[in-house]
Amino acid sequence: MNIRRFILIAVPYAWLLALFLIPFIIVFKISLSDLALSIPPYSPTAKDGISAMFKAFDLENFIFLASDDLYWRAYLSSLKIALISTILAVLVGYPMAYGMARAPEEWRPTLMMLVILPFWTSFLIRVYAWVGILSNEGLLNQFLLWLGIIDAPLTIMNTTTAVYIGIVYTYLPFMILPIYAALDRLDESLIEAAEDLGCSRLKAFWLVTIPLSRNGIIAGCFLVFIPALGEFVIPSLLGGSGTLMIGKVLFEEFFNNRDWPVASAVAVILLLILIVPIVLFQRNQQRQAEVES
């Protein structure tokens, strides 16, 4: 029986160690190596011996990252884009979650399914769908020109605006679901009590509903912000060459410039930046679990 238990633990444990933890250690190691014209394109490799490896390690790549303002701008603009997209997602997602929670009981499973359904469809296709809409001769511009609102097509494609639209669109379900869960649990007699005590509906919403759904909002924000920060597909497809995001820089550094040590250093710093929101998110989830139990 103890052997069974050991196998049960050892198999997934070993799998994750080998294919999750060790790869990270390798990334970390290569970020300290030098670029070399060989395959694999970095030195020293493990073949040179452990002690030679440690002697040759230095922070050169990180110093390079710090001195080249391309990387600074990429990190800052990723943070900015992720932050603004998250705020936009709250503004779009909250009214929807609110509407769902206030909808008649029998509609709610269907509304729920409608929110989840896009999540099951291909992410790439959903982003791609916007290319035909946002481009200069795209459907949005055709529509606006037809309405007579604009005289010349708007340039949305290949701008940061397109990236915002793409991020909000793809991650909206992640924002709606936790907020909906929080609003669904909300005791409505509290709002009625506030209104009986003289609050206007708007004031009751502001003073009761929003604070009580705070945890849902926070969870939703993290669920949008964290993946948006390292996003690659959306800025590459909708943002064009002008949009700088760190996921894209990493991808290009690796595949186009073939500079593995610098790509690894970019990855290490991205990870360090992500640790803060991830830890905060974990804390938020734990606190919520404690409140519920």
Partner: protein, 273 residues
């Protein structure tokens, strides 16, 4: 209070229009006979015909399906094991590290996961191809499976397992005969989640694939980089159709099961009283 106000109806209508309009337009324009994707020139299904003749896409679809089936099955087995350990396993050495490794891939940017796995495969001299994509997909999707399954394991009544053990079941039999049937819906949705994640993945597959095995998302990606193409619209429509059909069918089945379960409970209550 539970009535639909104008504000709520408007926000839901606009919100769902935002979520669905792009996909609806994509589907409509896949039936456009013009090569210019944004100019409507009449109804036609010719792009579907061309798609079926495109061997590169069909091969890529086949590779993707193979990878998805194998990796999601492996991920379901490993993820269920991991969930069982986390919820029922009690204390063991390195438990914190283990649960960290389960949750970390969920928030890890795909570019980092892909990069790190590629560096590993090159480091150990494993040729990149279908096998490496399967290994990569299994690793991140097992974490999703384990989260789905453990949320079910947490809520279910442990005394049922204990009863089976008391009545002489071995722990393995107790798992097979009691636990597994109860968590089966979560295991199935875990498999489905792993399957769609694998079908959908572009970034990790781009890092871990070799020249011999191109998956469908990689193929689509290289096509859409050049702009909108009607063939891709047709392909997207087929994929959207399959998913819509699958999700609606699954929700109808689970609804019918829930109704049946309710009826059984009521029948049992009547029998008792």
């Amino acid at each position: 209070m539970r009535r639909a106000s104008w504000f709520n109806i408007t926000s839901l209508t606009l919100g769902f229009a935002f979520l669905y309009l792009p996909m609806v337009l994509l589907v409509i324009y896949s039936f456009n006979s013009s090569k210019l994707v944004t100019v409507w020139a009449g109804f036609s299904t010719k792009w579907y015909g061309e798609l079926l003749q495109n061997d590169a896409f069909l091969n890529a679809a086949l590779v993707t399906l193979k990878v998805a089936v194998v990796s999601s099955t492996l991920a379901t087995v490993l993820g269920t094991m991991a969930a069982y350990i986390l919820v029922r396993g009690g204390r063991f050495a390195g438990r914190t590290l283990f649960s960290g490794m389960i949750y970390a891939p969920l928030v890890m940017p795909e570019v980092i996961t892909g990069l790190s796995l590629l560096l590993l495969f090159i480091g150990i001299g494993l040729d990149r191809g279908t096998l490496t994509i399967v290994l990569a997909h299994t690793t991140f999707s097992m974490c999703y499976v384990s989260v789905v399954v453990s949320s079910r394991l947490v809520t279910f009544d442990r005394s049922l397992e204990e009863a089976a053990l008391d009545l002489g079941c071995s722990p393995f039999d107790a798992f097979r005969l009691v636990t597994l049937p109860i968590i089966a819906p979560a295991v199935i949705s875990g498999w489905l989640l792993a399957f769609t994640l694998s079908l959908d993945d572009l970034v990790i597959a781009s890092f871990t694939t070799g020249p011999s095995s191109t998956t469908l998302p990689i193929k689509i990606w290289s096509a859409v980089r050049l702009g909108v193409s009607p063939e891709i619209n047709a392909l997207s429509t087929i994929m959207i159709g399959i998913v819509t059909f699958g999700v609606i069918a699954a929700s109808l089945i689970s609804k019918r099961k829930a109704v049946k379960a309710q009826r059984d409970v009521r029948a049992a209550e009547r029998a008792v009283t």
